[in-house]
Amino acid sequence: MTKLVYFAWVRERIGKGEEDIDLPASVKTGSDLLRHLKTLGDDYAHALEHENVIRIAINQEHVEHDEPIAGAREIALFPPMTGG
């Protein structure tokens, strides 16, 4: 099981802040993960519609979409940041 966490409008559109999910072996990178999640329902498809906008963090560190996710304890998906 991999823990997924969502923030801001990604969280709102998916309808939950976090979940534990079994990922198929074919899901090897961040991009694979986004494509897989979009098959799980309309909420996911809506939240992740524009894949290039979504930021990914693995174990609380920013990563590129082509980063392997093997061994990740926690993967976060969120929009571009707007703090400060």
Binding site: P80, M81, T82, G84
Partner: protein, 155 residues
């Protein structure tokens, strides 16, 4: 032997006290010649906005700001740095973020505070949602290209 450069990072709901945080950073040291304090406030956007709601990624937000601060201390040879970011609902006129940079000379203090803010805005996992004065909940604030450009000037 110079004292270590203390770095303080906090994410909190409560407001911060700029004077108290400044005093904490300068207490007991005589090697600093400059202190730059930046406070980011919630704007009312011409009366349209009732509040901003700040969401963050607990753990990662503190860690990201901490890394940015450590980079700033090294790059600008700062003597101390404090960064505090509030979360939750914040009304117009209230504080959102505080950065205090302590250095031997003014340029390092100005640059250190500016560097931390430019990186914080684009790398630290915080998001702002707008609540309007007419009771409607607005959307999430969009990231600005100008913030990316401000960050890029440091690389």
């Amino acid at each position: 032997m110079a004292a270590a450069a203390p770095v303080t990072v906090r994410v909190q709901h409560d407001d911060f006290d700029v004077a108290a945080e400044t005093a904490r950073l300068t207490a007991g040291r005589a090697d600093a010649g400059a202190i730059v304090t930046f406070t980011g406030l919630c704007r009312d956007e011409g009366g349209r906005l009732a509040a901003l709601e700040l969401e963050h990624y607990p753990g990662m937000a503190e860690a990201e700001i901490g890394q940015i601060c450590e980079q700033a201390v090294t790059r600008f040879s700062l003597l101390g740095l404090t960064a505090i970011h509030r979360v939750g609902k914040i009304a117009p006129g209230e504080n959102i973020v505080l950065v205090i940079a302590l250095a031997p000379h003014r340029h390092a203090a100005f640059d250190g505070a500016s560097f931390v803010m430019d990186y914080l805005k684009t790398s630290a996992p915080f998001w702002k949602k707008e609540h309007f004065a007419d009771g409607r909940t607005g959307g999430w604030v969009d990231a600005k290209d100008s913030d990316d450009q401000a960050r890029a000037k440091w690389s």
